[in-house]
């Protein structure tokens, strides 16, 4: 799958250790690498959503 997004022009990085938690945030897209990153991704999404509420 990294090759697919690289072919598209995405700047794809992977954690060197398989199934290590990894979430990459660049502006609005928030990407999680693997099933183990489910909670970390949810936390990153809530942070992104709550930020504008906190500064509104």
């Amino acid at each position: 799958m990294p090759a697919a997004l690289q072919a598209a022009g995405g700047a794809v990085t992977s954690h060197p250790i398989d199934f290590a938690l990894n979430v990459v945030v660049d502006r609005k897209p928030i990407a999680g690498q693997n099933p183990a990153s489910d909670h970390l991704l949810a936390t990153a999404l809530i942070e992104a959503l709550d930020r504008p509420l906190a500064t509104a």
Binding site: M1, A3, A8, S14, D38, I46
Partner: protein, 221 residues
């Protein structure tokens, strides 16, 4: 009053093409679908599930495991019950109707993984419209595991992009990707070394090690 609504774009795919020929039974991952959904609900957000054909995503059996919930049997059981019984997981909308009704009411978009989104969502025109709306409106767009590959649907020629990848034509794929809204963005996705399709009856590989090499999704070349 909720803080906002999360649109979860689910998949209807149940099989994926393999590099060694044939296809393998796949689906959407239970933990990847349910953990973010339940976490957002606990944080005060509402959730709407939508798929290409408006039916509920098929859960990959490999993900219906306590191991996927950190060995926590109670968490696994809560997730199974939520996915099976919660009205939010059973009032499934069509992506097309989400587009037709307008997307201003959604605060964010989420695409869970499992291999399934690499089959249908990554070339779905409706998801493409939805992704471009969230991108232009600068709303958080979360994608997990194989889910990030669905961001390719934002390309005007996503279907041709995927067909070129399947054919092993990366240069052709790059051509179809021209003008992609997410070019240059930093992102991650399920890695090549993490990729494992469980040996399936449709795989003709003679051993597990051969299967690991040949039973990879063709789109993952």
């Amino acid at each position: 009053m909720t803080k906002g609504t999360l649109l979860v774009a689910g998949s209807n795919a149940t099989r994926i093409e393999l590099q060694g020929g044939g296809s393998a039974a796949i689906g959407q991952y239970l933990n990847e679908t349910v953990v973010p959904a339940m976490t957002l609900i606990e944080a005060g957000y509402d959730v709407v599930l939508a798929t290409p054909d408006g039916t509920k995503p098929h859960i990959d059996e490999a993900s219906d495991s306590t191991q996927r919930f950190g060995g926590d049997e109670a968490a696994h059981e809560r997730a199974r019950r939520f996915y099976a019984d919660d009205p939010l997981m059973n009032q499934v909308r069509k992506l097309r109707s989400v587009v037709e009704d307008g997307m201003d009411g959604y605060a964010s978009l989420f695409v869970p993984g499992g291999h399934a989104p690499a089959v249908d969502l990554m070339q779905d025109a409706e998801l493409g419209t939805i992704l471009r709306h969230f991108h232009e409106a600068r709303k958080p767009t979360a994608l997990l595991c194989h889910g990030p590959v669905a961001i390719a649907a934002a390309m005007p020629r996503a279907r041709e992009f995927r067909a070129a990848l399947i054919a092993g034509d990366n240069a052709g794929a790059a051509g179809y990707a021209r003008g992609w809204a997410y070019a240059g963005y930093r992102m991650t996705v399920f890695s090549a070394s993490e990729e494992r399709i469980p040996r399936s009856t449709s795989c003709t590989a003679s051993s597990t090690s051969t299967c690991r090499r040949r039973c990879r999704p063709r789109v993952a070349r």
